[in-house]
């Protein structure tokens, strides 16, 4: 089954070749078609099952490596082909991989997740074949996107859609109807990465993701620094003000006492010199 798919994959023209390339893209398409068939019938599989499938398939498809990138939640660029491919294969495994890989870095993805596992409705990445104009930019499978069914990519699609099931879901649904069967429903399907349609190699996608991640970290660090500086200053001010307050209170009390003392003396009549006449 897989082999047949692969053949079909290779024949599928995929205009965009990510670095992992044509083979992966081709493989992607096949799984999708299979997936479409499979989906309706396969119930949700556990991650272990999927993972097992993947590991079995691994030796067969070494060339699929690298497509794991798309699992990064942060980075939604480009990854489409690769991860479409991956998504088909093993959604659950991706998930597992994603977590580890995500931590390890974009290029650590297990390569072989080739065979399109019966795609359970597991992690998201459905990449429906959208008309050529729709390009999928999102690279990664977001865990958030889970759910659905990798759609079939068969044929034409250059577009790999990954990512958020936001605006494009409506866009996708008509296209998907044919392609995607089974669990994937428009609601589940991930939509394109909304704004970024940049045709780039998958390598660049990974770099972008890394850069984005770094930038995000820096921004977070700046925010923490701001917060600390503000709190520190606030505490200092509170301290100064409290001290000043105490000092002023003391002064006030002292003054009051001395005033009272003076007043008592004033209540009595006092002799004073009068003009001499």
């Amino acid at each position: 089954m897989w082999s047949s798919e692969q053949d079909s994959n290779t024949t599928n023209p995929i205009p965009r070749n990510r670095t992992f390339g044509s083979s992966s893209s081709s493989s992607r398409s096949s799984p999708s078609s299979n997936a479409s068939i499979i989906f309706p019938q396969t119930p949700r599989r556990s991650m272990e099952d999927v993972w097992k499938d993947i590991s079995l398939m691994t030796p067969l498809q070494n060339h699929y490596h690298g497509s794991n990138n798309h699992h990064h939640p942060n980075h939604h660029h480009n990854q489409h082909q690769n991860h479409f491919h991956l998504s088909n294969k093993s959604n659950s495994s991706f998930k597992g991989m994603i977590l580890q890989d995500f931590l390890a870095g974009p290029l650590n993805r297990p390569l072989s997740i080739s065979p399109p596992i019966d795609h359970p409705t597991l992690p998201p990445i459905p990449t429906p074949n959208l008309p050529p104009t729709s390009l999928s930019l999102n690279s990664g499978l977001d865990f958030g996107y889970l759910g659905n069914s990798p759609s079939s990519n068969s044929s034409s699609g250059d577009s790999r859609v990954t990512g958020r099931a936001t605006e494009t879901s409506s866009f996708i649904s008509p296209a998907l109807n044919d392609m995607i069967t089974g669990p994937s429903s428009p609601g589940n399907i991930l939509s394109f990465c909304s704004k970024k349609r940049v045709p780039e190699g998958s390598m660049v996608g990974g770099d972008r993701r890394q850069k984005r991640m770094i930038k995000n970290r820096e921004s977070a660090a700046r925010s923490r620094a701001r917060k600390q500086a503000y709190t520190n200053e606030l505490e200092l001010t509170v301290q100064t003000l409290t001290q000043e307050n105490d000092k002023l209170r003391k002064q006030y009390d002292q003054l009051r006492h001395s005033m009272e003392g003076q007043q008592t003396t004033r209540n009595t009549l006092q002799r004073c010199t009068s003009s001499p006449f």
Binding site: S219, A225, R226, A229, E233, L236, T237
Partner: protein, 174 residues
């Protein structure tokens, strides 16, 4: 103490070298004192603030520099630093209106990100030691400028955060 806020906010490092604050610097926008690290929107800082200098001797003169080290964007500060205000010959115990405004106050209008707007106070060795204004406001370097004009280390500093008027307020930690 208040120097810690400057360290935490990375002012010491990005803009100024480490120093010991020795003169009080009080910055008042719209009759409200500005504490280091607060957030002010551009609408609040449209007009120049009242800057009150401490010290005791009227014959000592100070230079006040206001820069934005996060121009145009904190994650990509290509114009670092952007000079907003430069006032010299401010006598101690007075405020900035008693000095000479060499570079007039330009109100902050950050386009993206949350910018730190830094005030730095330097003591002059004499009067009229700072005469020339830089040609452009961007790519200013406070420490280099201080070195060129024999201003030495800063005597006081403060900063606030500014983002564009419609900004969302940054990450949620308040």
């Amino acid at each position: 103490m208040s120097r810690d806020s400057l360290i935490l906010g990375q002012i010491i490092g990005d803009v100024l070298d480490p120093f010991d604050p020795s003169v009080s610097l009080r910055i008042v926008y719209n009759n409200q004192q500005m504490f280091t690290g607060t957030d002010l929107k551009p609408s609040a800082v449209v007009n120049k603030p009242r800057v009150e200098i401490g010290g005791s001797d009227l014959r000592v003169f100070y230079t006040l520099i206001m820069v934005d080290p996060d121009a145009p964007n904190p994650s990509n500060p290509t114009l670092k630093e952007y000079l907003h205000w430069l006032v010299t010959d401010i006598p101690a115990t007075t405020d900035a209106s008693f000095g000479r405004e060499i570079v007039c106050y330009e109100s902050p209008q950050p386009h993206s990100g949350i910018h730190r707007m830094v005030f730095a106070l330097f003591k002059q060795i004499g009067r009229q030691t700072v005469r020339t204004a830089p040609a452009v406001r961007s790519k200013f370097n406070t420490m280099d400028f201080a070195m060129e004009h024999n201003l030495g280390a800063p005597f006081a500093a403060a900063f606030f955060n500014c983002q564009r008027e419609g900004g969302t307020g940054g990450r949620r930690w308040r």
